[in-house]
Symmetry: C2
Subunit: 427 residues, 2 copies
């Protein structure tokens, strides 16, 4: 790994997501050596991935170079690497670029799509948890429309224009809304020789309401917004299989579609050496105490999606979202400094700042702790908050310009098949 020895204790952070970056910032100019490891050289602003998939934003606008975050930090080392195994006894990491010892280890690896063991859906469905995945989805959507032009078989053509989005959480709702807007505003102009009105956008939710983590008013309003955009919302239906065209469910309902997006579950990213069955909670999360220490370890911590801190308010851990990860990163950063300085630790207390989801132009739902609202104002709040949390001044300006342009012009100009996906999948 080629990291020099230091007289300061070495803290290794695995993962440059919301948690890892918030933590790293707190360790700047402290008496520690920090090694941040990520398999990408950039931080991904995951809440806007669906806009990359739907051609509203460039991928580069929601990514930020990790090295730039760390510029000017002393005793910081970034390594582009994949962690293969943790040797908890030897306090050592094995990676694809060599081994490295740690004094303190922070696991902030986040989460990945959970297909619940369904290999067919994993092979033929699309996930949307990373920038390459989002770009693949963008390519596939556009490739399917190009292909729809070529067939005289009406059933095949419809399937190429149909979408099934599995999972009614924020990702599924936001993607369904964006696709509905594309169907209305862009497809008829881009494909005058195709009857794009026949395109169907289906949002399939396993439980009895979409956005189940939000308030009931938010759920019902979001559903009404989606329906006003022409999205078919299906509830109490579970998708059970998909062969690339036919979607089976646990009811009589079935769909034919060439694009199935799986947004119905996430699981913690596991690392060998820290994945004993008795250790893992539901979804593969690591149980941690209120100081983020993983059960059984004093020197290993976990934050964000990968950590499960069971509290009275959150008996199954905090929601797997940006806010808890950032707050945990900040708290752990302060505590690690306290550990080095031999001061008592401060337990983590989560401040719920609320949740929100957007459906389309002028349509969003916001749940604040004391106040819930929906509609135009909620939509502006959603945009403001997302711009605020986006890292980097340039990214904020470029995203803002794109949004203004898209809003005024009812357009999304990044509908580009930069890397075709169908051939890749066929291999």
């Amino acid at each position: 790994m080629n990291i020099p020895q230091s007289s300061f204790p070495r803290i290794i952070i695995i993962g440059g997501g919301f948690g890892g970056i918030a933590l790293a910032k707190k360790l700047c100019k402290k008496e520690v050596q920090v090694v941040l490891i990520d398999k990408n050289n950039y931080h991904t602003f995951q809440p806007l991935l669906y806009q990359v998939s739907t051609g509203g934003l460039e991928p580069d606008s929601i990514a930020y170079p990790i090295r730039k975050v760390l510029q000017g930090y002393s005793n910081f080392y970034f390594r582009l690497a994949e962690v293969e195994r943790i040797d908890t006894n030897g306090r050592m990491l094995q990676t694809n670029i060599g081994e490295i010892q740690y004094d303190y280890l922070v696991v902030a690896t986040g989460s990945e799509t959970n297909f619940f063991g369904n290999k067919n859906i994993e092979a033929m469905g699309m996930a949307m948890k990373s920038i390459p995945q989002s770009l693949n989805l963008r390519s596939l959507i556009l490739e399917n429309f190009e292909q729809a032009l070529l067939t005289d078989d009406l059933h095949e053509r419809d399937a190429l224009m149909n979408f099934v989005i599995v999972g009614g959480g924020p990702t599924g709702v936001e993607l369904a809304g964006a696709l509905a807007e594309i169907k209305k505003g862009i497809l008829p102009k881009d494909y005058p020789d195709l009857d794009t009105r026949r395109a169907q956008i289906n949002l399939v939710q396993g439980s009895d309401r979409i956005l189940p983590a939000m308030s009931e008013i938010a759920s019902s309003k979001a559903e009404r917004f989606l329906e006003s955009l022409g999205v078919n919302v299906w509830k109490d239906i579970r998708v059970t299989d998909y062969d690339g065209v036919h979607v089976s469910t646990d009811t009589d309902t079935s769909f034919d579609c060439a694009t199935l997006v799986w947004a119905a579950g996430v699981q913690a990213v596991r690392i060998e050496g820290l994945d004993a069955k008795e250790l893992l909670c539901r979804g593969g999360r690591l149980p941690v105490n209120q100081f983020h220490q993983v059960d059984g370890f004093k020197e290993i911590f976990a934050i964000g999606d990968v950590a499960q801190m069971e509290t009275e308010a959150f008996p199954h851990g905090h929601p797997m979202m940006a806010q808890p990860a950032m707050q945990q990163g900040e708290n752990l950063g302060e505590n690690l400094v306290r550990i080095v300085e031999n001061k008592p630790l401060k337990p983590f207390v989560y401040k719920d700042k609320g949740t929100m989801a957007t459906v389309g132009r002028n349509k969003a739902v916001v749940d604040l702790p004391r106040f819930k609202f929906q509609g135009v104002f909620a939509w502006f709040v959603w945009m403001f908050v997302h711009l605020y949390f986006l890292i980097g001044f340039r990214n904020r300006v470029v995203v803002f310009i794109n949004w203004v342009y898209n809003y005024i012009r009812f357009d999304r100009e990044a509908r580009l098949i930069i890397r075709p996906f169908k051939k890749v999948r066929a291999k």
Copy 2:
């Protein structure tokens, strides 16, 4: 292909580059059916590819959806396809999505990198003629610096940080200048644990001056600009081989580098059926008369890089650049309408609007027909002209914002390895 029959004559345009798009615009609302075929669903603004490679711009900002260009045009059909063969006798195209008849055919396929048969350089060197190629180069540059951190072998580390750019035309000069600015402004901050001063940027030119198509004063100024940025300019040297590390030349000079960019030649993109040896000029271009008709055919035309119209001023055809392609597209568009209306044709006359190249901030060279200038003003002219010719209001604004940001901050934030390249090449 599923293109309906029409009472109007059918014009097929192969290629949505500068020539093809300019031509299509002239055919809007005329009594013709137009089918535009491209292997990408977007137009590429090739002059700025080097900025994508060097992290200064997002790829999406220099690409524009072809369907959006054609929005609202009646009797226009776009097909995402690769042409496999032209059957000139049957007036038919064979493509990967089926066959199609034409009344008039316009070949506007542009050019691709010419490795002059050197398979090693083709396998291990990087080209920069398309957006995926430019993104691959971006990834490789960043991956090499990440790898340079990991080795203790000083020679290997130097090779990972060294660049050889073969070809002193605008592409090579602009890329070398951009890399020199990255070396100076970004690398020391991004890689504090690496002695990035040792990185060498070598521009290798086969003839006795760089920018040989421009004036002598432009060449010598550009060379001085490059040297002030720390670029090593090598003249009268031809690169003969490359194995991924070692670069051989036809002199005693040799280089060790992990990144070799081949910008030393282009050739017309050939299509089977129109590639008889007796037909092709140097570089595989198709000889055309002053009405863009390919020798021996009344109904087949060629414009842009793929066409060679021999005139007194340009005995080997016009320069393979955007300007001639656009002017030819416009002229041919008007002539095709005249053909349909049975009016006499207007021969093509090229208006030389000048050429320019940029080296770095405040450093560019401009040759106008009556006036040549270099330096800060030339640089502003270069930026203005490129913004002006960029298609799309959003693209212009986003590129402008990026340039202002990069200028003020001495930064390039798109230094992201979205799709790693080394593994791809290893396959």
